[in-house]
Amino acid sequence: MIERIEILAGIKKLPAFSTTVVRLSELVNDPESGPGEFEAVVQPDMALTANLLRMANSAYFGLSRRIGSAREAITLLGVRRVFQLGAMAAVDGVIPETLPGYGIDASVFWGHSVAVAVLAERLSKERKLATPALTFTAGLLHDVGKLVISSFLAEHIEALRSELASGQMSLLACEQKLLGADHAQIGAELGLVWNLPEEVVKVIASHHTPDVANGGRGDVVVDLVHAADCLSHSMGFGADVGGMQRQVDDAAIARLGLRHIDLEHVASRALPEIEGLTQFGRSQKKGTGA
């Protein structure tokens, strides 16, 4: 069993999460804010700006000239995209090279995070829902708890493999059994320490148990991220020690009104975007998962 004090020590070991992203997330929710406000928030964060410009100048966006400032990035790519890239740049900065408890390296974690972010937004559009601005960021951050508990889980890797091999237990249930806590709970703790927006913390806490969000009434972003997480694993983004031993929440899928045709349509349309955005991770240079 994992003690709270150990969790907090694990959280402290992670690099600091850019507070700029938290401030950007407040701006993106504010209809009054414009490129000027965004620039004022982004510019002082040198590391984030550098990472953001590296992404904005990648071949993926095919811009004809080189972007040299956050303001230019906002003008050419739009506030929403720059906000997304900012969140990606921040997450990219905190992923360790390997997550031994899950049997994956940084590139697999990154690919899964990006896939869930893209899919959550696209599922929302597919159902013509008014997509809350934080959907992408919430998708990107949903699994951050794994960064904390990976090393604790690694101490039980043989027991974990044997629990999983028995066939009927989800990875989440195995975490609970071995550690007395799971990556969703611990991720929510981390979200509070990082001062993430309340909506994002809610998604992190409930993405495997969407039916309990909002006192059983459900929450659209939680439902979207849950569905995106399931679809991502179906598509093969995020294959780890748990394989596909993950529970689909029927009520969440029903609330979103998603049919298999919607899921397949979104998967086919989202793949190029996932591949394009995934290339931006530093971890992509380091190899592949199995």
């Binding site: 049997g103 697999v108 493999r161 999983l164 091999a165 066939g167 989800s170 399931c230 679809l231 694993h233 179906s234 598509m235 093969g236 983004f237 294959a239 780890d240 020690v241 394989g243 596909m244 031993q245 993950r246 529970q247 689909v248 029927d250 899928i253 998603l258 298999h260 045709i261 899921l263 397949e264 349509h265 998967a267 086919s268 349309r269 793949l271 591949e275 592949t288 998962g289 199995a290």
Partner: protein
């Protein structure tokens, strides 16, 4: 050793005896693996979805995304290398499923159903398969020998 990586919605063929054709992380996707022991050539597709009608424009860009456009393309690419249909050994892996009581995400099952239907119509026999279950798989084809392996949950098996 020459590693030929097949991405999602991608297909590759090779007649290089040193080549290993590999695809990672088959979730609900399916890999069809073909090998010609006469020509000593192999090929693999990693398709994601059953039917191209889901997204006809994507099927034009990337036919290997769908079973109905990708599998025929794999076979034709093998024929272009001088392979004959009767010589080909055909195997399949993937088509995994989440814990999904109501089958919302039955993509793996649908991927497998269309595969069986297409092969039945075309008179193609599946020599070996490792499909279904809550598994993620990595598939390898050793072109020099035709050996085929599947890795899942840290264990390797011959296909």
């Amino acid at each position: 050793m020459n590693l030929v990586k097949v991405d999602i919605a991608d297909l590759k063929v090779s007649a290089d005896p040193d080549a290993i054709i590999i695809t990672y992380a088959l979730g609900s996707c399916i890999a069809v693996i073909v090998y010609d022991p006469v020509r000593k050539a192999g090929g693999m597709i990693h398709y994601m979805l059953p039917m191209s009608e889901t997204s006809p424009e994507k099927a034009k860009e990337r036919p290997a995304m769908f079973a109905d456009t990708g599998i025929p393309l794999l076979f034709h690419t093998m024929y272009e290398m001088g392979c004959r249909k009767t010589d080909l050994i055909v195997k399949a892996a993937g088509g995994g499923a989440l814990y999904d009581d109501h089958g919302h995400f039955a993509i793996g099952q649908r991927n497998y159903t269309i595969l069986r239907k297409m092969f039945w119509k075309a008179g193609v026999m599946i020599a070996a398969e490792d499909v279904g279950g809550a598994k993620s798989r990595t598939a390898r084809l050793f072109v020099g020998t035709g050996r085929c392996t599947i890795n899942s949950v840290g264990e390797e098996s011959e296909l």
